[in-house]
Symmetry: C2
Subunit: 200 residues, 2 copies
């Protein structure tokens, strides 16, 4: 059985949200599992000397327009959050904890978190919002919020970010298909060819 | 008759080369003219505080891989030039001069210049190479190389770069379709929808 695909993302990354549904559909189509791996882009930006997209002169203005248009193009509901970007350290830890329990609800967590942030304009890094998210998907809210302060989970996120940087991840979504790196939701056509026909 | 599409590009931009053929095919399919407008990305990078892609840590390594893979994905012959990026000020001026003569060979010039740089590894900013390019496409080589030093052509390129910056161009290819900006060859699917169905 082939190794799972990997989808590195940050919960504050619009393109990670916009690409999620189509990526998941591709994985299903080609019968591949996916490891959804939350990271913190701030650390990656620091390593590569980059800034958050919307803070760059000229490029930032275009990015806001492109994000909204790309969401419409992909039929994904989207409203630019009033605070953007945000820290997502607690959200990422909550997901890592959920994954560590062997829960089958990881993807539901991710989808609901994106929806809360990019449609409902809620700060998904707040523990109160994370508790509501847990309830929405039928997970123990108290255990999940407590886990965001668990040293073992904190270390796990640090290690995941380090691993991502070590593997060259500098933006999101950043996908690996059998070792091949693809950056950006706009590379999904290339991902599909790779899944279908192998290396090209 | 609708206004021509615009394709802002730099002769040293691999993605401008990779996207050219598909963009031109889209324009033909939807019966639209195109203004191919050479600029100098160095000036745009200065305005936006960006660096050349391949010089950015992490991102640069990925970019080299992505450029070669994207060329294969688009069936475009490609060999990373031994010197990259290069100044393309003379190449851009030569094209501006050719366009100013009303010649129908602009697209042939662009295609041949890209081929010389990205397939044959020739420095297309050298006047000797520009003279050969002129001969290849059946244009007066002496007039073309002389034009690269013509103050009026120099001013024209400066004005074009200024106009591009004023309109938010920060990278290449940067396309306008009826006022809507699209950055990157990977936005061609969105360009096509815009051409086909109008604003979305």
């Amino acid at each position: 059985m082939p190794a799972p695909l990997e989808y590195f993302f940050d919960f504050t990354s619009p393109y990670s949200y916009i690409g999620l549904q189509a990526f998941d559909a591709l994985a299903s189509k080609y019968r591949r599992g996916v490891n959804y791996r939350p990271i913190l882009l701030g650390a990656a930006f620091k390593a590569s000397g980059m800034q958050a997209l919307v803070d760059i002169p000229l490029k930032g203005d275009y990015a806001r327009r492109d994000i909204e248009r790309s969401a419409r193009f992909n039929d994904v509901p989207f409203k630019m959050p009033s605070t953007f970007p945000i820290s997502t350290v607690n959200t990422a830890r909550a997901l890592l904890w959920l994954q560590s329990t062997g829960s089958a609800k990881s993807l539901s967590f991710i989808q609901r978190a994106f929806q809360m942030y990019f449609v409902e304009d809620r700060n998904i890094n707040d523990l109160a919002e994370i508790a509501e998210l847990a309830q929405d998907i039928g997970v123990d809210a108290q255990a999940m919020t407590a886990a965001t302060q668990d040293p073992a989970i904190k270390d796990k996120l640090k290690a995941q970010v380090e691993e991502a940087l070590g593997r060259g991840v500098f933006g999101a979504p950043y996908m690996f298909v059998d070792g091949e790196p693809f950056w950006g939701h706009d590379r999904l056509p290339q991902v599909e060819r790779w899944l279908k026909m192998g290396p090209f």
